[in-house]
Symmetry: C2
Subunit: 193 residues, 2 copies
Amino acid sequence: MDETPGLRERKKAATRAALHEAALRLAIDQGVDGMTVEAIADAANVSRRTFSNYFSGKEEAIFHGDTVRLRRMLELVRAQPADEQPWTVLTRAALQLAEETYLGNEEWLSRRRLLRGHPSLAAHQVAAFAVVERELAAELAHRLGGDDVALRARVLAAIFLTTMRVAVQDSTEHPERPLLDVVGAALAAAAPA
Amino acid sequence: MDETPGLRERKKAATRAALHEAALRLAIDQGVDGMTVEAIADAANVSRRTFSNYFSGKEEAIFHGDTVRLRRMLELVRAQPADEQPWTVLTRAALQLAEETYLGNEEWLSRRRLLRGHPSLAAHQVAAFAVVERELAAELAHRLGGDDVALRARVLAAIFLTTMRVAVQDSTEHPERPLLDVVGAALAAAAPA
DNA sequence: ACAAAACTTGCCCAGCAGGCAAGTTTGCCG
DNA sequence: CGGCAAACTTGCCTGCTGGGCAAGTTTTGT
């Protein structure tokens, strides 16, 4: 694979990340409704119009982190052997991701906590998780046999993603419990027959 | 219980229903982006400002039907004996609701099909389903024993709702297969261990 | 009958998404 | 290296949107 995806791509990624960072920071200390898109763009040294080229709204910018992590999760799933049980594959990917996320960014959960409870955010987070649903389902379909593969793959993908979401949400509400623990318990409760 | 919930409440329900109807109809033949909130309000003989008193946006108006059905589902769950297995309770409620919905409104699926594929709608539908998640979790918590009741109840509620959503979405994409059939298969694939 | 509470409406405003076109940066190939 | 094409940024602009406010209307309880 290409080590450097080209200057253009690197710049885009940097801008996107800067906007995400700014959105998160401003949301935390001015409130989601209290901040304007213009403020986010300014904080990232970019025009308001450019913000719109990257995200379709402030909430999308806020949850860009989740989007990235979910794509990473897709990779982790794809990287696993084709002959494993699907739920095993998903569980491994989830636990590894939880570990990476937590190690790479210890303050992650605490920053999230500051955003908790805002009504419209929950809806957007749910949407962020749903975006990868079809891709994950396609990947799982390869790993399933029997009847109704398409439907069963989709159900499995949806269940898994929703479980991850609940685990993360629950984790922000119970800071004392380690993330890995919550993810593990949630996955155990969700495991299909 | 009160047979007539009062004139005021009846009028409100009628207005809400009229707005929902209008939103659905206009969305189908002008496209979701092609219609304005004002047009919906006009079609329901109500001011644009009043629309905002009922719904926070057009998508919410479009999915009001789903919201109503999900509340009905909560009732169906609550009405069942407390000593049943939670997943059995949910399955029964889902199948009964699918039947009611289909019988009461045969054109339901075909109307939905006309809206399929619009990107932003999917997100709002997911959100509509997530709204009742906490209420359903609270109801299920009563019916669970063991450790971690709160988390497990939440996971169960989320899994169930997401499965229903997938069943409905899949159904709009495969019109030839009976709704009950799809719901049944989806629930079977989702049943926890 | 009448007062309080709830609802509707018009008016208003700041914020927002996204089309368009001119200017700038990057990628690519001879 | 030169230079063209594609991609990206920016400013400008427009119509739509959510929601605060206050005046007018309808429903309710007594």
